[in-house]
């Protein structure tokens, strides 16, 4: 079994096998698009800072709005700059397993210490 597995790992996939989505390698993010994405991230950062410093967001909405903007920035970088949106789903799986496990684990840990309920 081990032998077979090793063989399977080192065996090249025949060039005729095509596991890509039809448009998998047709996508292009131009440099202009990347600059636009960076500007979007910069604007979100400015909004985050303004929400904290200028106090234009009601107190009750401050933390939720900051968390939403943080999450949007996080996934924009992961999906577009790190190219995860266009890459294999296996790469996404590797990353999201770690991310979801971390959020769940430390969410439970913080709840255990009554972080959310004060």
């Amino acid at each position: 079994m081990t032998m077979d597995s090793d063989t399977a790992i080192t065996e090249p996939v025949p060039a005729s096998v095509d596991h890509s989505r039809p448009d998998e390698h047709d996508h292009t993010i131009t440099d202009k698009n990347l600059i636009f994405i960076a500007l979007f991230l910069a604007v979100l950062t400015a909004l985050e800072v303004a929400a904290t410093e200028v106090d234009f967001v009601p107190d009750a909405l401050l933390i939720p709005s900051l968390l939403i903007m943080m999450t949007v920035k996080f996934f924009v970088v992961v999906l577009y700059f790190m190219h995860l949106k266009f890459d294999s789903r296996l790469f996404s799986l590797m990353f999201y397993i770690g991310l979801v496990f971390a959020v769940a684990l430390y969410g439970v840990m913080l709840a255990t210490f009554h972080f959310f309920t004060g």
Binding site: D4, V17, H25, A38, L67, L90, Y106
Partner: protein, 222 residues
């Protein structure tokens, strides 16, 4: 394992290999050749994503520890007296822009424009250095204000979290500069674009971690 897997039939027609799960679609490298692996994916890239997934657990632990201890400063100085939000916002912006220059280095490498790729890598390293300088300056100011590493639980958890991130940035800068030197001396074996992309993934991860730290540590009031 079937023989078909070990010795795939040499046929011109597309063959479905059951050992390759659905969704494995990154079957080609940057010059359009299939990766020489059973999945058709780059093992290096797969390993990097696994590493980054595990890093989520490391930083998750550090961030949640800080969140627990953020109000435990006792009589010592706390976040409200220390934070300089405009300054930290500026350094955050610098790190964010370094992600842009990094991705521009990767796209240049994929276009085989090595000269421009090297230039963007140097700019990324410089921006990273600027961010790190800002962090050192910030730590110095905090220390002078009376916030030592063992002053309080807040201080220890803050320095540990941001210090770990700073070490990651420093390692990233070393990787970037090494990459520039290796490209200049033509010492990179294999797909250069993929090597640059791997360093890029690490660098972007350092950026996304800072996105979380900036909001949770600096912006959300204690």
């Amino acid at each position: 394992m079937s023989d078909a897997t070990v010795n795939p039939p040499a046929t011109a027609e597309p063959v479905h290999d059951d050992t390759i799960p659905e969704g494995y679609d990154d079957t080609q490298d940057h010059i359009g050749l299939p990766h020489d692996t059973s999945t058709g994916l780059s093992n290096t890239k797969l390993a990097m994503w696994m590493f980054l997934g595990s890093e989520c657990l490391l930083f998750g632990g550090l961030i949640s520890t800080y969140m627990l201890y953020r109000n435990r400063q006792g009589d010592a100085v706390g976040p409200d007296q220390l934070w300089d939000i405009p300054f930290t916002s500026a350094t955050s912006f610098v790190l964010l822009m370094s992600s842009l220059t990094m991705v521009l280095a990767v796209t240049s490498a994929q276009r085989r424009d090595e000269r421009r790729a090297r230039l963007w890598l140097v700019v990324t390293a410089l921006l990273g250095g600027l961010f790190l300088s800002g962090q050192v300056y910030e730590f110095t100011v905090f220390y002078r204000e009376g916030l030592g590493y063992t002053t309080s639980l807040f201080a220890s958890s803050f320095y540990t979290l941001t210090g770990f991130h700073g070490v990651h940035v420093a390692v990233g800068i070393i990787m970037l500069l090494s990459l520039v030197a290796m490209l200049a001396k033509n010492r990179i074996v294999g797909d250069k674009a993929e090597t640059i992309e791997m360093v890029g993934l690490y660098w972007h991860f350092v950026d996304v971690v800072w996105i979380v730290i900036f909001t949770l540590v600096y912006l959300i009031p204690a």
